[in-house]
Amino acid sequence: MNEQLIITTSPHFKHPTTTQRIMLDVLIALSPAVIASVIIHGWYALVMIAVTTLFAVGSEFIFNICVKKTQTISDLSSAVTGVLLALNLPTSTEIWQCAVGAIFAIVVVKCLFGGIGKNFANPAITARVLMLLAFAEVAGGQLGGNPFVEGSHADLIAGATPLVNIDKLSPEMFFKVTPSIPEMLLGLRAGAIGEGCIVALVLGGIYLIVRRVIKWEVPVAFIGTVYLLSWLITGNALLALYYILSGGLFIGAIFMATDYSTTPLNRLGKLVFAIGAGLLTVLIRFFGNYPEGVSFAILIMNILSPYIEKLCAKRPFGGAKNEK
């Protein structure tokens, strides 16, 4: 018999899930939204997704070379960031803006903080918010005179995202000029390319829950909080439905509020995070002067995440109190 044995310490078994597999699952979960975005918003959407993904992965690759770090792009997390970023942008975004956003997300928000797991703010969201502030095309969120859009389904859609309308109109008028609920569910409306198609997003969300990548309570609590509070404030259950279906709530709740690095480790903390983000979303939407609060809400919660994590940690089983 061969005497050479492999010697390591226990445990000798490993769960098959790896970081790469998790990120692959997220990419799979995003694919319905990607397909929907191309159907609804045309080929330009695909170009945007390709560009952000390419630049996200590429900038991580180059960054790692520059700082002489072992290559990490095979964990697919930068690809996830790239796809997510594009899905959060409207077709009015220029190609070069997509590229700048992706580079910013990866280099400044992720890599400079030490890479995967160490960044405190969600790269895709931070980049999106920055782009909203910096580029008028992104902020507009409208389907503009972009050459790629012509002839696509997007032409059918009445101008603005419903949230803009809600502010200006009485409820009666509002229901007349905005897309119907089925249209909202399918994503036949303006806005970022990936945020509209609720059906596709929920499909992806269910996949992630089944694969145990995310906890079901996070999107449910996030969206539920927004729904309940919107209902409370408007007094109109149907209108509240519009509130949750419009803007980036579903994509935010399913794909961003469940990001590992930027949310608490423990399950209770994740729940608190989700409820907090829902609360902030409603506050920003109704009382801030900005119609879309999801990104800001998640960003603010990102900053609070370490504190939530500490407060929500379970007491070790049988552990005595630490005297201070």
Binding site: E3, Q4, H12, F13, T18, G117
Partner: protein, 451 residues
């Protein structure tokens, strides 16, 4: 503080391939190696010399302290060497090598012990060489004696057998249920304060649960608790909580909450010893794993080299993998096939090269899987982080604040980590650091006094 439901949260593969296989006795090995430390506590002291003739069941080493255990010759033959043996955990202890004469002649001194009260029961159990056969190796007599110091009202019989592959306890429950019953009767007789006996068995062993339930159907004091198939049900604190809802506080023992936990095979052995007087010289052992051709349950003399066991099951399918004392979750990898099994080896697990090769360690992605997996609600990332701190004081303070002492090294955290972080491995390093630090403090204090 309340906890809901059961402790333990990790699904691991069961692979109880051998659950239906009765244990077979192996042919006497050519030689055995008996390390003096096969238990928790002080190593035993050899009382034989090189060249001595020994017989099966003859005492060859004396317990050398309160927490210690004697060791008996497991084959008949000649003591060929007293050497030093490097245990898989890195400690070096003396070990007695016996070349077998192949006869397995029983020693003439063997007589059933006389037991008529707790005192004599404890003495008998101590003499039997019995230690926790589930793998912990804590001398059983010391546990039983705890009854004198603390009010024990519950005895938990651990039949969880939560590791993959291992079925030696399963076989005990199925084949030696009479001994189990006798063992319970003995404990009832000499531990009158104990009001309940609870068997904790994972629900992946329905035959065992059924068998024991039938066996004790008329006995009010005995309860068979079905535990979820979630690792680590066999952990002492876990099984105590999951069967009695009692929480063993930090730094306390099970006896402080009125419990004794005993492995089911230990219980059966105790009953057998009281009948026959044959001390702990052999044990049942599962030989399985992805690199084992025909997995089997064997009964082998303690001290048998792994090689003999593997040969007895038809060899390995593939060489160069990993061979583990115990199961894959908590077992220790053997350095060579010449290493002997000890009292606490319930299984030999041989893994294929593929299963022995670990994926690369990557950065923590802060996913929280380890936190959720930890059966005692620790946050393993904190320990690993603390180890990176500058300054020993700070490191130790942070480790203690985060309750590293509560870690039972079950390995759930490392098992689930998608980045393959060495979490439990770091915890062991951390524990060693705390030990060293404390020893250092004591030395400093002593030096001060001396001045």
């Amino acid at each position: 503080m309340f906890w809901f439901g059961f402790l333990g949260n990790t699904h691991i593969p069961h692979r109880k391939n051998t659950a239906g296989m009765a244990a077979e006795k192996i042919a006497p090995p050519g030689e055995v190696l008996l390390p003096m430390s096969q238990h928790i506590g002080a190593p035993a002291t050899p009382i034989v010399k090189v060249g001595d003739e020994v017989k099966v069941g003859q005492k060859i080493a004396e317990a050398s302290g309160y927490v210690s255990s004697p060791i008996y010759a497991s084959v008949s033959g000649k003591v060929s060497k007293i050497e030093s043996y490097l245990r898989p955990d890195g400690r070096t202890v003396p070990a007695i090598r016996i070349v077998s004469d192949g006869e397995m002649t029983l020693s003439d001194d063997i007589t059933p012990p006389e037991v008529n009260d707790l005192e004599s029961l404890v003495r008998a159990v101590r003499e039997s060489g019995l230690v926790g056969l589930g793998g912990a190796g804590f001398p059983t007599a010391v546990k039983l004696e705890g009854v004198k110091k603390a009010k024990i009202d519950t005895v938990i019989i651990n039949g969880a057998e939560c590791e993959p592959y291992i079925t030696s306890d399963t076989r005990t429950m199925l084949e030696e249920s009479d001994l189990i019953k006798e063992g319970i009767d003995t404990l009832k007789k000499y531990l009158p304060d104990v009001r309940s006996f609870i068997f904790g068995i994972e629900k992946n062993k329905p035959e065992c649960i059924k068998k024991l339930k039938e066996l004790f159907a008329l006995d009010e004091a005995v309860r068979v608790a079905t535990l979820p198939s979630l690792y680590p049900q066999g952990g002492e604190k876990v099984i105590i909580y999951n069967t009695t809802m009692r929480v063993v506080p930090e730094g306390k023992l099970p006896s402080d909450v009125g419990c004794i936990v005993m492995n089911v095979t230990s219980l059966a052995f105790m009953a057998k010893y009281l009948k026959t007087g044959i001390p702990l010289v052999e044990r049942s052992i599962t030989v399985d794993g992805s690199a084992i051709k025909n997995p089997k349950n064997l009964v082998a003399p303690i001290g048998t080299p792994i090689r003999a066991l593997i040969e007895a099951v038809g060899g390995l399918t593939e060489e160069g993998g990993k061979v583990i004392f115990g199961g894959p979750m908590m077992g220790q990898a053997a350095c060579s096939l010449d290493e002997p099994i000890t009292k606490t080896t319930g299984a030999i697990t041989a893994l294929s090269i593929k299963e022995s090769t670990e994926p690369p360690v990557t950065d923590c992605i802060h996913c929280g899987r380890c936190v959720e997996a930890c059966p005692v609600f620790l946050n393993p990332t904190v320990f690993s982080h603390a180890l990176g701190l500058e300054g020993k004081d700070e490191r130790v303070a942070r480790l203690e604040e985060a309750k590293l002492g509560l870690c039972m090294e079950c390995g759930c955290c490392s098992y689930v980590c998608p980045a393959n972080r060495p979490l439990v491995q770091n915890n062991r390093i951390g524990k060693a650091e705390i030990r060293e630090y404390k020893a250092h403090l004591i030395e400093l204090a002593k030096a001060k006094e001396g001045r």
